[in-house]
């Protein structure tokens, strides 16, 4: 009988809609928009701006040169390493603080206004303070990244921890789960979708934080590379850096999506129904 009760116990098949993205009907409008923007940019700059202003053709020509440049690679590596460090710290402490805030009314009362307050503070205004504390160094850059990233993680994880379905907690209590086991075994996995949402926001903010810090501190990195090249009238080179930053944004999004599908196959499946 149990066989007949099965609706779909096989591993979820790849959804056919996923392939539609590459069909001409969906792809063509994107392509056309891109081409129109590039063409308009190219012709407007050619017609109106001085020769050093970046335009698609010179940026494209600059790509191989810049990518082969060891200084550029070192700068990219430095920025990414700082972002990874800062995000790791923000993820750990953000999750811990968020879980406490979400599950303990006392912790919530104690830190809520500070978290929301700091979340709203632009990272550019704390940079002068950080540079006094940590010097004009990569330490300040990491501190800025942590500051930029941690509050969106805290806020999201706290939301997730607060909205753990009552049923899960009830089951855990009924089976005599301890407090720590409830937090790590029930509250944390149940908050994962929120944590991921917070992490995606945080990653974007972390990248911004890194670039802003490099601009302000003149610490070597992708941000400083962009600043330095645009000040040296090498706009096309600077633009390659900008494009790379945008590419990181897209790549990170894809990575998170892939990880979600790989490690949390259950997430968002409930909407499809049994």
């Amino acid at each position: 009988m149990s066989q007949s009760a099965v609706t779909s116990a096989a591993p979820p098949a790849v959804k056919p809609e996923a392939k539609h993205v590459w069909l001409p009907a969906a792809f063509l409008p994107r392509l056309i928009t891109g081409v129109v923007i590039l063409l308009a940019w190219e012709f407007i700059v050619r017609a109106l701006a001085p020769a050093y202003v970046a335009k698609p053709s010179t940026v494209a020509l600059a790509v191989p040169r810049v990518i082969a440049d060891p200084a550029f690679l070192a700068a990219t590596g430095a920025t990414l390493a700082a972002v990874a460090q800062g995000l790791a710290v923000a993820l750990f402490f953000g999750t811990v603080i968020g879980l406490m805030m979400g599950r303990s009314p006392l912790a919530e009362r104690a830190v809520r206004h500070y978290v929301n307050g700091f979340y709203a503070v632009p990272m550019i205004v704390v940079l002068p303070l950080f540079s006094l504390w940590f010097g004009y160094s990569s330490g300040t850059r990491v501190a800025t990244i942590i500051f930029a990233a941690i509050f969106s993680i805290i806020i999201n994880v706290a939301d997730g921890a607060r909205s753990v379905p009552r049923e899960y907690m009830e089951v855990a209590r009924s089976f005599r789960a301890g407090r720590l086991s409830m937090l790590t075994g029930i509250v944390l996995p149940s908050s994962m979708p929120y944590l991921l949402a917070g992490f995606r926001l945080a990653a974007g903010r972390a990248l911004i934080g890194a670039v802003v810090a490099e601009f302000f501190l003149s610490v070597g990195g992708l941000g400083y590379f962009i600043l330095y090249n645009s000040r040296s009238y090498k706009h096309s080179e600077a633009f390659v850096g900008v494009l790379l930053l945008a590419a990181f944004g897209v790549a990170f999004e894809l990575l998170v999506q892939w990880m979600t599908r790989r490690f949390m196959p259950w997430y968002r499946r409930d909407e499809r129904g049994g």
Binding site: M1, S2, A5, V6, T7, S8, A9, A10, P12, E167, Y168, E170, V171, A172, R173, S174, F175, R176, A177, S181, I186, P189, S190, M192, M264, P265, W266, Y267, R269, D270, R272, G274
Partner: protein, 276 residues
Amino acid sequence: MPELRTSSADSSTVMASGGEPRIRVRGLGKHYGALEVFRNIDFDVGEREIVAIVGPSGCGKTTLLRCIDGLLPHDAGEIRVGREIVTEPIAGVAMVFQHFGLFPWKTVYENVAYGLRMAGASKADVERKVPEFIKLVGLSGFEKAFPYQMSGGMQQRCGLARALAVEPNVLLMDEPFAAVDAQTREILQFELLRIWEERPTAMIFVTHSIEEAVLLGHRVIVLKGRPSSIHETITIDLPHPRTRDTLREPRFAELRERVWGTLMREAREAEFVLER
């Protein structure tokens, strides 16, 4: 109707179980703020006895069960399971929930293992028992499935396996089959009876289905009123093991009508619907 009230819960318990009661509820009362949910609840459940509790929606039968599990505090009376006084969830008592309560991020295997792990079972124990109980409830082959990949009936089989895996001596069933379709429900009722015959325990089965109560219970407790109290306890003298044939026995129909009548008498306050 005092003449219908059974003399005392205790006598029938001893009859059905032939020993000390496993669960002893005395003078139990519960308020939600100013609202009194139930009062003066007295009953026993024998070592190997199924007691079904029926009552109109909102009569507090689920609240009563949560008090017995120790999930909710009561504010009058006493609950004993074995020698222990219940104030919080205790070992040896497992609950099956109407909402299944499966963790969506865990596979069937991990969901079934949850109770064992919380009880501190060794790795070897978990590896031995989990497949055993998955097999018992007929879920073999679905160890790696996630809850979202299964029908409601299969999800509740998983919930049942999780509760059984800790080998409890008390099973608390909170309308476990209310959220599945009618055919699945019937199948699960007989599955539960089969499993109970294999591994009898004390069981409290809360339901709003009169048929289910009569089919499963050695006794049926009717909760009624606001605040509710035990209106009547009806002994179900149908022979065991109970099967589909039990449903066709004239005595089954008689007992079902008796419970129905008890519930419906002065039933102005209840919109009680007889299932099927």
